[in-house]
Amino acid sequence: MPEVTMAQALNHGLRFALENDERVLVFGEDIGKLGGVFRITDRLQADFGDERVFDTPLAESGILGISVGLALAGWKPVSEIQFDAFSYPALDQVISHVGKYRFRSAATLSMPIVMRIPCGGGIGAAEHHSESPETYYAHTSGLKVVIPSTPADAFNLLVRSIRDPDPVIFLEPKSRYWSKEDVDLEPNGLPIGRARIAREGRHATLVAWGGMVARCLETARAAEEDGVDLEVVDLRSLVPLDVETVVDSARKTGRVVVVHEAPMTAGFGAEVVARVVEDAFDSLEAPVLRVTGYDLPYPPATVEEHYLPSVDRILVALERVLNF
């Protein structure tokens, strides 16, 4: 079990998939010689050849459009989109075809497409490089949407996503790329569709995914000093959503705060609130609150720490639910 960063774990995941399934293809912008701007595909082209690992022209709709065709030809396309906001030119192909093709065929075929998208903020990047587009994908029927929060799960979830016969939007929290841990280089972790209790606690539940899981754990450590014992649920998989794990936690603590980077309005946090309210209403001791990015375009890097949910902001929300 080597200690690796999330970026390296993802590289291992792609390598594992390329080695174990000769139908896997990896492509995107700058993923060949350069190894991707985050080096997630580092040396893959050298090791697997440029028929299986290749750069494409600069066109995201093209990348997802050929993914559909490659899947029809029996390949397993794994594409990389360079940054979150550059996934938008592909939305039409994703919504109108990737998510619909199986349904349209009356399930006579599968669409084993993986679309990797580095996402989220907190790394001091330029405009369009820090967005959290998960809601667009989670609201689109026919897509699975996953996002790891640790190096080990990054490897595990990526290998599972590539194996999955359905289209998976694989979101990678950039702010965690350089986090490190020991990683088992076998996909022995939780499957897609299951949430993970990242920390057990009794007094309130924080629900988060991707980059905000670490922030919630940080919050839990801070709260501990005040004698508040927080549970942290890492969703991992937004679609399918593991409502059971979230609701069980809500029933146990009676108090829930959902934390995400994306803007509040119609963000995926609202879905979590709605599911908790629907299934655990009588256990709730307080309103389910959200701590999120504000309803602004993602702001310039020098003020992003005001924008992203901070430990302080999460504590303020917790105070409200704990004292309700």
Partner: protein, 367 residues
């Protein structure tokens, strides 16, 4: 009769059916029975097409986009393909479906609103799902062709789209990928002069076939109402694609002799004189004249084809008219390879809400 086609247009038959390009005609590798088959497919298609418009008028189809007038463009190109070549249609390719032996009842369920896509097992049938978002299917064809090439298979893809589709970004990205990767794909643009009510000159300021140059592969303009010409250029394109990975953009100049769809009123925008002019360029009449001139067909054979077309149309009618809706419950199983809890819960809800009557109907159908 030269005013009706622009220069640089590949044409073998004049509108009156006489051979204008003797050499081109000789170069075509078709036996007499193939030459007759081209007519047969066009005639069958015409009848099915007309029947489907009638079915829509009678409320049996929700909406139907006729291909009336475009038979030569579709049949000539489709007939030039090999069995293993893969067709990516838009929403107007019934003629291509006829040539490829697609089950037309299954196909028409799309237009009845019984099922999306229209094709079960598209991979097995080498015929992709009906694609409505204009030009989006172009990239699928390119991706498939790239994939087939990686497998070293001597095949090609063909993708059908209209003049309007050339304005979309996906057309550009698809052609560009094909040029860069040497994808064995044929871009078959049926330029029927109109994108619903928008005429070609509002779509682009340049000839469509010339756009191929932007991508580093050949483009060709063909008289889309001359089935021998569309056959020939497609055949050549397929060979280039399979043997050398060279894509081709074919602009088949034709005309939409019907409405955009049964919901459309073309009298609002198509000029009367234009309609009349193209009326005289009907691809079936032209090709029948050729076959008759060459002594390849006689009245009884034509009558037999007519009868066969009626029967096929009737078969479509029998299969589609009054066809019940699908059981909505099965659709919850179509989204993913497994049924996640939320879809299971929703499926249960639908099941509970179905009236007893509906349950009974469904059971009868299943039995």
């Amino acid at each position: 009769m030269t005013t009706d086609a622009a220069p640089d247009t590949v044409r073998i038959l004049d509108p009156d059916g006489s051979v204008v390009d003797r050499e081109g005609r000789e170069a075509i590798d078709l036996k007499d029975e193939d030459l007759r088959a081209l007519y047969r497919y066009m005639a069958l298609t015409r009848q099915v097409d007309v029947e489907c418009t009638a079915l829509q008028r009678q409320g049996e189809l929700a909406v139907y986009p006729p291909l009336l007038g475009q038979e030569a463009a579709q049949i000539g190109s489709a007939y030039a393909l090999g069995e293993e070549d893969f067709v990516f249609p838009s929403y107007r390719e019934v003629g291509v479906a006829v040539v490829r032996g697609i089950d037309l009842v299954e196909y028409m369920h799309f237009h009845r609103g019984t099922r999306h896509g229209g094709i079960e097992d598209p991979v097995g049938k080498r015929f992709a799902e009906i694609s409505v978002p204009v030009s989006s299917q172009i990239l699928h064809a390119v991706g498939w062709a790239m994939g087939a090439k990686k497998d070293g298979r001597p095949v090609c893809a063909i993708v059908y789209f209209g003049d309007g589709a050339t304005s979309q970004g996906d057309f550009h990205e698809g052609c560009n990928f094909a040029g860069v990767f040497g994808a064995p794909v044929i871009f078959l643009c049926q330029n029927n002069g109109w994108a619903i009510s928008v005429p070609l000159e509002r779509q682009t300021a340049a000839p469509i076939w010339r756009k191929a140059e932007s991508y580093g592969f050949p483009g060709v303009r063909v008289d889309g109402n001359d089935v021998l010409a569309t056959y020939r250029v497609t055949r050549e394109a397929a060979e280039r694609a399979r043997a050398e990975g060279i894509p081709t953009l074919i602009e088949a100049v034709t005309y939409r002799m019907g409405p955009h769809s049964t919901a459309d009123d073309r009298s609002r925008y198509q000029p009367k004189e234009e309609i009349d002019r193209w009326e005289r360029l009907d691809p079936l009449a032209r090709y029948r004249a050729f076959l008759e001139n060459e002594g390849l067909v006689e009245q009884p054979w034509l009558e037999e084809v007519e009868r066969e077309g009626k029967e096929l149309a009737a078969e479509v009618r029998r299969g589609i008219a009054g066809a019940p809706p699908r059981d909505v419950r099965e659709m919850f199983d179509w989204v993913f390879s497994d049924v996640p809890p939320v879809l299971q819960r929703q499926k249960d809800e639908v099941t509970e809400l179905m009236t007893e009557e509906e349950h009974k109907e469904q059971e009868d159908r299943d039995a």
